[in-house]
Every structure is written in C-alpha cells, then in structure tokens.
C-alpha cells in the first residue's frame, strides 16, 4: 500500500474527526451536567455557518482580504451562536427542568425542527456557495497532496480551541464550578454555586465550539444549506456516545475514531459506506461497552 495515500487519508480523517470532536464536546458537556441530549445542537452549528456566510458576503462587498473575512465572520458567528445557545436553553429546556426526562428531549427535537425550518424559510432550501476563506500557504505546497492549507488551519484551530477549553475547565473558577455541577448538582448548590448560570454557560461554550466548527467546515467544503446541521449533529452525537457521553476526552476520541474510519473506509473501499460505518461502529461499541470507550459506569449515589 502506498504510504502517501495512507497519510492523505490519515490527515483528512483527522481533519473531519477534529470537527466532529468540536461539535461532540457540546453534546457531551450538556449531557454531563443535565443529562439531556440537546438535539438542536447541530442546528447551532448550521446557524454559525450561515451567519458566517452572510458576514462574508457583506465583507466581500467592502473588499476585505480572505483571512480578515474569515476571522471577522468567525467572530460574529460565535457571538450569534452563543446567543442562540443561551436562548435555546432558557426558553426550551429551563422551564422543563424537573419534569420527566422525556419532556426536554421532545422539546429538543422540536427546537431542532424549528431552527431548520426557520433557516429554510428565512434563507433558501438550496445549497449556497460558501467562499473559500482559508488561504493557500506557499510553504504547504511540497506536502499539499498529503495535507492542504485548509486542513492545517482546521487542525491548528481545533487544537488551540481544545487546549483553551481544557485549561478553562481544569483551572478556572467557572471551570471548577462546571465540574462540581457535573459531579453532583445539588451539592454544587450547597457550596454556593449558581447552577443555573453554570448550565447557561455550558450551552454558550458548546455553541461557541459548534460555531467554530461550522465556519471551518463551511469554508472547507464550500457550501451550506439548512440541513448541514443534521448530519454533522448525528455524527458528532455518535462520536460523543462512542467516546462515552459526559466524558470530554471521550468526545475527542470518539470524533477522531469516526473521522478516521470514514476517511479510510471511503479511501480503501467506497465512499458509499462511510455513513453506514459510523453507525456500525456505534452499535458494536454499545454492545461491547455500553458506557462508551471512556465513559464511566455511574455508581448509584448513596
């Protein structure tokens, strides 16, 4: 087997996987704290991509350069997505806190459908071209057949994002409050943590990550429509479950596994199988290790 081809697949899988991981983090962090699968999370990603598209369109009119547009579009997409995530939790989930677990789940599915259709009606059902905002670096030319400039930018961005997230959670005061809330919500309240604020913050952080993913993917793939959040969401959710939902390293691992298996399956067999493979993997893991690869089997609380 040709080593260069293998490396090309490896890096393309890594790139996809890191994006899945970025989105999966939002599912897993929310689940870790309120045991809710936020089905509308993929739509936040999609909205991030759309906002970036609109900003990029406006910026192009004013003649800004590609990289400046990327940064500006990403920044505004992040702000929008954060606002959507915050509002989503406030109107669709918070009023249902304390009701049976199925209620917020149904609300989540409802919000997902609502947001898809909102964008469908406000924009268009067709795919819209997204400008290629990531520039080609000359220094990447010698290896461009293995890993291109866009892949490099995506990998570096996701890496930096994940390092920052880890530092935030491990070291900062709010990060500690988030971990405490995840480990024991009512005990967190007993030490004086405002858990409502922590939950809001978790949605905001997850949405920021999703928006970063949305902008990167859109400028990489080159097109967006109202439905892109669905498939990305399903894959990222699968990644989160695969790695062990609630576990942050698990989400990253799950994302990478799915990215690689898709990329290698498409490269060595046929791209027809790449989506199927994701779910075959999920089923196998759930049979062998129902809590996911890094997931903990929760002990009953005393």
């Amino acid at each position: 087997m040709d080593i260069e081809y293998f490396l090309e697949l490896f890096f393309s899988g890594l790139t996809r996987g890191s994006i899945y991981a970025l989105i999966a983090l939002g599912y897993t962090m929310v689940y870790g704290i309120i045991q809710l699968i936020n089905f509308a999370h993929g739509e936040i990603y999609m909205i991030g991509a759309f906002v970036a598209l609109i900003v990029a369109g406006v910026c192009t009119i004013y003649g800004l350069s590609g990289f400046a547009i990327l940064v500006l579009a990403a920044a505004i997409a992040i702000i929008y997505a954060a606002a959507y995530g915050y509002t989503l939790e406030k109107i669709a989930y918070r009023p249902l806190r304390g009701s049976p677990r199925l209620s917020p789940l149904i609300s989540a599915i409802g919000m997902s459908i609502f947001l898809q259709n909102y964008v469908l009606l406000a924009q268009t059902p067709d795919f819209l071209p997204f400008p290629r905002l990531i520039p080609s670096f000359a220094f990447m030319d010698p290896v461009a057949h293995i890993i291109g400039s866009p892949e490099l930018v995506i990998l570096i961005t996701t890496l930096i994002t994940m390092v920052l997230l880890t530092l935030l959670i491990k070291k900062s005061r709010v990060g500690k409050a988030m971990r405490a809330t995840q480990q024991d919500l009512s005990m967190a309240r007993l030490v004086g943590i405002n858990v409502d604020r922590v939950i809001s913050l978790t949605f905001v952080i997850g949405s920021v990550l999703a928006a970063i993913g949305g902008v990167l993917v859109a400028s990489y793939i080159g097109q967006v429509n109202f439905y892109i959040g669905f498939l990305a969401g399903v894959k990222a959710f699968t990644a989160a479950v695969l790695g062990g939902i609630g576990s942050i390293p698990g989400a990253v691992l799950g994302g990478l596994i799915i990215g690689w298996s898709e990329s290698f399956a498409a490269g060595y067999f046929s791209s027809d199988y790449e989506d199927v493979l994701t779910f075959v993997l999920l089923v196998v893991i759930l049979i062998v290790r129902p809590a996911g690869i890094l997931g903990k089997v929760r002990k009953q609380k005393v």
Binding site: A180, Q183, L190, G192, N194
Partner: protein, 235 residues
Amino acid sequence: MLSLQNIQTYYGNIQALKDVSIEVEEGEIVALIGANGAGKTTTLMSICGITPPRFGEVYLDGDPIHELSPEGIVKKGVVQVPEGRRIFPDMTVLENLEMGAFLRTNKRQIQQDLNYVMTLFPILEKRQNQLGGTLSGGEQQMLAISRALMARPRVLLLDEPSLGLAPLIIKQIFEIIRQINKENNTTIFLVEQNANQALKLADRGYVMENGRITLVDSAESLLANDEVRRAYLGI
C-alpha cells in the same frame, strides 16, 4: 439565631414537613433526632433552600432567609454537611476544599482556613492530591466537614455525620464537632439517628416523627426520657 417558624415542605403533593418550628441560639449545639423518613434531611434542605418550604419562614438573626437562593443562604453563613457526605468524586481533596470556599474572595483568609482544617484533620493534608472518590468513608466525612468549614459558617448543619462509620471514628468526629463549636463559637445543628451520641454532645434536642416535632427539651432530659430511651436509644 436560626429560627424555623411553622415550616411546611412538600415533595409534589406529599407533605414531608408539617408545622416544624425550631430555635437554635448562637453558640448552641442542637440535635434533631428521629427515625428513618421522619423528615430530618428535608428539614436541613428546607433551611438551605434546596427544597424551600411552601409555607412558613426561616430567619437568621431576625432576617428572613427562606426566599433566598441556596447560594444566598450560604453567603449568609448557613452551611450544610449533607447526608452521605457528597464529596465531589472526581476532584482532588484540595479542590473539594476550594469548592467549599467558592463564594469567598480573600485568598489569604482562605489559605488560613485551609491550614486550620488540615490541623483539625491531618490526614487531609496527606491526601490532598488524591481524588475525593477514592477516600475511605471516615476520610470523606472529615473532608465533608472541612469543606463546609471552608465557607466560614456561622451556623453549621450536619446530617448524620456518624452514618456508616466505625465507633472510634465517630468518637473522633464528634470530638471535632465539639471543638469547632468551642473554638469558633460556630452554632451547630446536628441531625442524627445515633441519638445517644448526639444527645451527649448537644445542649438541647428536638425529636421528630412523621414530619412533626413531637418533643423539645434539654439534652439531659431527653436522654433520661422513657419514651426517647425506648424509641431511639434501644434501652
């Protein structure tokens, strides 16, 4: 100092506390004893705002606190060591202690209190980088008490600190509770099924049955009370 006036707390439609009134004076140790399901834990959770009372009031130094949020109540200096210790399992001993001081900002005072709890329980210093979930039951109880002390409580609420511990450890824990009360003049409200130990430590006691207070007296009188002896002391 802490005053519960005709508290009624519900879980959905089920009433768990019926007209509970309790007074705890500054510097006192007061015990609340009762059988399983009597409503002792609910009483503490009602004071802390986790299950706020539907009717009735809670006052601290004459100020109503029953409409405050749990963090507002912690800020006022009412801090609980809950039943089952509830250590954050995936945080280190040191991080658990830091969480106890979550609402405080004075770094120097927090460090002082950290040193203080580590002299109370030297084992915590040895275990400071170990995950909370890996501690023994006794060590977890010591950590739970220390975590509460890190908030500099004016009133310390303890829910069955002796639960599941060996007699020697229980003795040590109760000794420390007495010491905390003496050294810092911290007011103590103690919930226990271990009525004998609790009443030996306390100044006064309340007896709770089916969500109602049925008896209030000095600890000595309760220890001598025939009914109490039969029902709670197994004599």
